[in-house]
Amino acid sequence: MTEREQNLRQVLQEGAARTNTESVRRRITIDPVTRLEGHGKIDIFLDETGQVERAYFQVPELRGFEKFVQGRPAEDMPQITSRICGVCPTAHHMAATKALDHLYRVDPPPTAKIIRELVYNTFMAEDHALHFYFLGGPDFVVGPDAPPAERNVLGVIGKVGIETGRKVIAMRRRWRELIALTAGKSVHPVFGLPGGVAKRVTPEMQKQFQEVAADGVEFAKFTLQLFEDVVLKNTDYVRMILSDTYTHRTYYMGMVDDSNRVNFYDGSIRVMTPQGKEWKKFPSEQYLENVAEHVEPWSYVKFCYLKPVGWNGFSEGIDSGIYSVAPMARLNVSDGMATPLAQQAYEKFFSTLGSKPVHHTLANHWARLVELLYATERMTELAADPQLTDTTIRVLPTEKPREGIGVVEAPRGTLVHHYVTDENGIIQKANLIVATQNNAARMAMSVEKAAKGLISGADVPEGVLNRVEMAFRAYDPCHGCATHSLPGSMPLLIRVRDQSGKTLATLRRDFDGSVRRD
């Protein structure tokens, strides 16, 4: 038995023992029973006095990936991995393409890198904008305590106006059309090749990129202003962002350029301590020397932590290897933004929140908009680059393949693709570390902390459902790639049990947003 297997067995035995003990305690379950199971399940255990003792945030994990790709040509990976994820295919495509560069030890020509980064920033802009308006918006634009019937995407539009809604849709369409124009498909791009890209950018395409990029900057400025007007001027929201319920002092990780500024496409991985000091900066190829995975018996997810610091349970502080990725983490690990307007927004972010690093999970929503502005400005810079339309877009690989690692910053955080092949480039082993996995430990802590702060005994107020979900929604987690959410009849359920397992109360939310008790 290997050391890893022994560790796993021990963890499972401990977990089983703990589960047996805990099963006699009071238990609250927030259990999505439909296809929404793809989005997680929360078990909350109460102690004898009715206070929350532990909360488990469970998510199903995509299985079988490693086996599926074994024996396939490495060149297929950008297509296969982008097809597996229905949410951020471009991020997988790009990480896979970079892993192939590394696998074949080939450095793409400058124009290919410009095209890749341009497409990638277009994708980031689209994803970030959609998250703010349609996914995070119900929490902030409408408000966490608004009636459930209003706390949805229509409520957001009601608040910001139909014209703004149409503006978001129009901007998104133009971004997606650019991705499709360059990458072949906006859904599953087909342009990344080891050593370059498949299609050049013509002068006509460049003009189109420049127009859309310029409009994108205005759109991002408009969105940041909206955030200021609707969120920052509302003291209740600001108080909630700063509240202890949504605060964790952990390490942070993200990719930075040579000047330690945020970069989504390429650079070094930088990790900062909870006190804001640089812990380490390393090339992305050394990722696996610095990150390890911890297994818990109650979850399929492997919880990433900093290997040299070690796993110290679900705890905060400098002695716990738990770290966070995603927009707020990226701002925390950088010394600034590489574009002027985003730099201003970055400075305002930290001066308003009063410290660096910012530890308030809900500040991710704001950080996301700072990055939206950066992505649009970066698009403008890249679209103006005279080298963009050069015809040299690929260097043919000549080295024998063996092992390749590719890293990008996905909208939700650091994304790693790692392949090992035989000398013919046939995959022997593949491993992906997705952004949500990097965040998994901190996210579990967030759910537990929110539950502890909001739940006391069997009396679970309606607002708790949303407030607990908000604790992980800020990370924009990606669970169960490529799932759809055609609802059944009972999407969310909280069950409170006493020590004998008897149900004390049931709180359920139906798909029309109504909440009722049985």
Binding site: G38, L62, P138, N152, V190, H479, T483, H484, P491, G513
Partner: protein
Amino acid sequence: MIDTSDSGLDRPMSAVHSCSTRVLCLGNDLLGDDSLGSRVASRVQQFAPTDVEVFSTSESGFSLLDYLLGTHRLIVIDTVVTGNALPGTIYKICESELKLHAGGSPHYIGLFETIALSRYLRLPVAEEVLILAVEATQCFTVGDEMNPAVSAAIPALVEIVRNRIGARTTHRTRGFVA
């Protein structure tokens, strides 16, 4: 063996244009029961007349917006896991039966919200929406085979689509029925 080649059915948004009826098949053909949509799509495409568009996509949530616009009628094929019915059970859901789902999905808005949003923003969304969903079991294992009970629903599903298309569509000379 699962085919990972490009089926050509998941065309980009720019290829989505006006038509009278669109059959939108959702699901990921690499994920067990989730491949139901793409299998139905390839069958329906064999007999769909030229004014009927057939799409198969693994996109979800708000990304589906592009597929909802520019058609008079929309038929959506998908899988669903309710745990309340036997695998292979077919659900027929009309838009009028849909209720807006408030914040239940922490990650993305779903098909229903996207339809509601499109109407609210006065976008040219399909006037008539029918959803055909099949109770599934296993949608999380890459490369998994379909549950036989779920795949057994495919012929019935295809027949429902055929009848819907046949009843309402004027066949053009280029169209044919298998």
